[in-house]
């Protein structure tokens, strides 16, 4: 039973989780920032002269932008995952398992390592190309899955996603080999990171995050209907053709922008919506906002772990999310199999 109070509790706990994650990520690290100092820095951010210059520099110039970026990336991936799952009626779908992240990576790598700039877009060339690459990948993956099997079973879609992931991965390797850059740098980027990006990257992702999220939340009720199948949604009065592409495009916008600023970070879009659904039910009017909150929190925590667990070495954040996400992926698969048999 998913009552109103349970949903309200979900929001309260999610906000608390976000605040805790934020506070930890700001204060914990090679240099510990006292909690009181953190509050004073945020309260008096306008006037840095009165603050401890080392603490304020660490918090405002290094950790704060890093945490915000992690939060935005996590939120983007989580809500994109939630919407892909609803639209495809597939709890295993997320930007990573669908191969959309890989597609966006190819776009991003092309821009970064080939140094392409599209006239008129300037710095936004990177996210725009990523978004377009993400959308193209998604359309091709879904088209291929439908071609393989008209009913588009859960496993077929994921298998197609994996095939395309591998394929796009090789293209990435090929591009990297041809550019002659050092492989390690690329691989680190591919496994995802939100370090040393600064406010520029936040400015890059923010408009895409806002646009994509609003579009998806605007379509929450339609996603509810489409979770029962496109035909059913049509009969309930949903303009399926339009809504479907709005959702796919929004998911691609969010994924593409996230990949452009942080590389491929897997499984956030799988784990977070799954947890949210278990706690509060499947109504997308709540699943989507709650996925934003908890996706942000989760990635902030993962980033904190990534930079502290084997300090001073920093792990790629994708390693942490994969460690968390792959077992959850397995669990959902087993669960769904059982359901179908039972």
């Amino acid at each position: 039973m998913f009552s109103q109070s349970k949903v309200a509790l979900g929001y309260i706990l999610s906000v608390i989780f976000l605040l805790v994650a934020f506070t930890l990520a700001i204060t914990v690290g090679s240099v510990q920032v006292p909690f009181g100092e953190m509050l004073r820095i945020f309260a008096g951010a306008g006037n840095r002269d009165s603050l401890d210059p080392m603490f304020s520099s660490i918090v405002l110039d290094i950790r704060f932008p890093r945490v915000v970026l992690a939060g935005l990336v996590g939120a983007s991936l989580a809500i994109a995952g939630a919407s892909f799952q609803g639209l495809l009626k597939n709890p295993l779908a997320d930007p990573y398992t669908l191969g959309v992240s890989s597609g966006a990576s190819v776009g991003a790598v092309a821009v970064i390592f080939l140094g392409i700039t599209i006239p008129g877009l300037g710095g936004f060339t990177l996210p725009v190309v990523s978004v377009v690459a993400a959308l193209l990948t998604l359309i091709v993956v879904l088209g291929f899955a439908r071609f393989v099997e008209k009913s588009m079973k859960m496993e077929t879609i994921i298998l197609t996603g994996i095939i395309f992931s591998s394929f796009l991965g090789s293209i990435l390797s090929l591009m990297i080999a041809l550019t002659g850059d050092e492989l390690r740098q690329i691989i680190t980027w591919l496994l995802g990171s939100v370090s040393m990006r600064g406010w520029d990257y936040i400015r890059l992702i923010a408009p895409f995050f806002v646009t994509g999220s609003l579009l998806l939340i605007w379509n929450a009720r339609e996603l509810n209907a489409m979770a029962f199948g496109e035909d059913r949604a049509h009969h309930l009065g949903v303009n399926v053709q339009v809504r479907k592409y709005v959702v796919l495009a929004s998911g691609s916008i969010l994924t593409g922008a996230a990949v452009a600023v942080s590389g491929t970070i897997g499984f956030v879009g799988l784990v977070v919506p799954h947890m949210v659904r278990m706690a509060t039910g499947s109504d997308h009017r709540h699943v989507l906002p709650l996925s934003i909150l908890n996706g942000a929190s989760l990635l902030i925590v993962c980033d904190l772990i990534a930079r502290t667990v084997v300090a001073p070495t920093e792990l790629p954040i994708g390693v942490i999310t994969a460690l968390l996400g792959a077992p959850v992926f397995g669990l959902i698969l087993i669960q769904k199999r059982k359901e179908r048999r039972g």
Partner: protein
């Protein structure tokens, strides 16, 4: 309200539905029937606007379907699909509430009192309100089917389209669902189009039936006109028998399997077991039987046949129950037994065999004429049931039509009357010639294998044997009865 004109269409190159036309009356239930692959579901998709028509058009309230947006159409037309798996667990309430989608305007549409009422009503009508807060994944197939019906009803549609709504439902919910729909056609001015697999259910509930075959209309008419033997056999390519519903003027179809399942054997004199208590026959196979017995009366299939002797002063409040006990006591399944009673000494039974050209008959008669009645003057009598009686059994090794059964009964009765006249049996009250006794009973049972007998009137081969046999056996039985009396 809905009108399809020359509708053709399908998925690939080939049209699955070809030139189908119909016009739906308000508050009508139209059933779509047809074998697998006949285009029922495709037609439904075109009616609901999911699939465009390649040729022809579907109009709803004088406007083509394409003139409606999905939302506008969903306010008028609801669809109950065939059941399928769902990935996420919505609660029953959430699921039903989605039916209000077409009535809500904008993203932050308020949940109105009317929305709430429509959802509650729909849940109540379909009996799912007690699952309100449960996940639909925890429900059985039938319960889930009802949840989606509630969702469709929450749309407050004028027209409801159903694709095999009774799938997954047990008998009682099938009836409940269809009764509910029938009721809504009257109380809510609902109009229904439904695909049915079950011809008999369709016949019971639909005002008209549209029978499809290879995507073409075979017939569009009332059930009585569509469900005739020839049409059903041709379209479904299966042997069937049609008859009317026992209590309603609606046709029903019964399948006829290609192979009989029972061993067969001829009915002969030797099968009869005669004791002081009863005359009993156990037949090698079930016999189709028409009788006026105490148990196993009417038309049915039976294995055991008993004519039980009871004392002259036999009095029992419930002779039916007593007969059932008697059968069970003797190890005969009462549901499989035809049982009669007589006060006559049953060891005096006359059993004779008759044969003509491959058709054979066994006739058994017990007769007592103490209560002889002249039926032409019986209105002068008080009603009284006493047990002095003529019980006539006719077993036929042949396949009889329904009309042959009735004529066999007539012929046997005529023969019995003749036998009584020949024996000069008189009604003791009126002193006129008797035509029978007050509690006569008769039985015609046939193996339904062997030669086919269409008629059994008095000059047919079977009628001749029955006439001769009944007269002979009854006369002989009366002679012995009188002998015993005069002793």
């Amino acid at each position: 309200m809905l009108k399809a004109t020359g509708v053709s269409g399908g998925y690939g190159e080939q049209d699955v539905v070809k030139n189908v036309s119909f016009e739906l009356q308000k508050q009508e239930i139209l059933g779509i029937l047809g074998p697998n692959g006949s285009g029922k579901t495709t037609l439904m998709k075109m009616i609901s606007g999911l699939l465009p028509c390649r040729e022809g058009a579907v109009h709803y309230k004088e406007k083509p379907l394409s003139a409606y947006s999905a939302k506008q159409l969903a306010r008028e037309v609801a669809v109950l699909p065939q059941l399928h798996q769902h990935a996420f667990d919505y609660t029953v309430r959430e699921t039903v509430a989605m039916g209000r989608y077409p009535h809500q305007k904008g993203m932050f549409a308020p949940w109105t009192e009317h929305d709430e009422k429509a959802v509650m009503d729909a849940m109540k009508q379909t009996g799912v309100e007690r699952f309100e807060h449960q996940s639909i994944q925890d429900l059985s197939g039938g319960e889930r089917q009802r949840v989606f019906l509630a969702q469709a009803l929450a749309q407050e549609p004028k027209l409801l389209l159903l694709d095999e709504p009774t799938n997954h439902l047990d008998l009682s919910y099938q009836k409940q669902l269809l009764d509910l729909l029938k009721e809504w056609t009257e109380t809510h001015e609902l109009t229904v189009i439904s695909i049915f697999h079950d011809l008999n259910i369709a016949s019971l509930y639909c005002d008209r039936l549209l029978l499809l075959h290879h995507g073409e209309t075979v017939q569009l008419a009332e059930p009585g006109n569509v469900m005739n033997k020839e049409t059903v056999e041709r379209v479904y390519n299966a042997r069937v028998h049609t008859q009317s519903h026992p209590e309603l003027p609606k046709p029903q179809v019964t399948l006829l399997p290609n192979h009989g399942f029972e061993k067969t054997g001829l009915i002969t004199k030797d099968l009869f077991e005669i004791t002081g208590d009863h005359v009993y026959v156990k037949t090698p196979q079930s016999l189709k039987t028409l009788s006026s017995a105490v148990i196993g009366a009417g038309l049915g299939w039976y294995h055991h046949f008993v004519n039980r002797h009871v004392p002259m002063d036999y009095e029992c409040d419930d002779s039916y129950e007593d007969m059932v006990r008697y059968a069970a006591h003797n190890g005969w399944n009462p549901a499989d037994t035809v049982g009669m009673m007589t006060a006559v000494k049953v060891e005096d039974v006359i059993i004779r065999e008759y044969e003509d050209n491959g058709l054979s008959v066994v006739i058994a008669v017990t007769a007592g004429v103490g209560n002889a009645v002249d039926v032409s003057l019986s209105y002068e009598r008080e009603r009284q049931a006493t047990i002095g009686t003529i019980n006539s059994w006719i077993f036929i090794n042949g396949k009889l039509s329904d009309e042959a059964f009735i004529q066999a009964m007539m012929t046997a009765t005529e023969a019995k009357v003749k036998a009584l006249q020949n024996a000069d049996v008189k009604d003791p009250l009126t002193g006129t010639l008797a035509t029978g006794t007050s509690t006569d009973s008769a039985l015609v049972a046939a193996t339904q294998t062997g030669p086919f007998v269409q008629y059994a009137g008095s000059i047919t081969p079977l009628g001749k044997m029955i006439g001769k046999g009944i007269v002979e056996c009854t006369s002989e039985a009366i002679r012995i009865y009188r002998e015993r009396k005069s002793r």
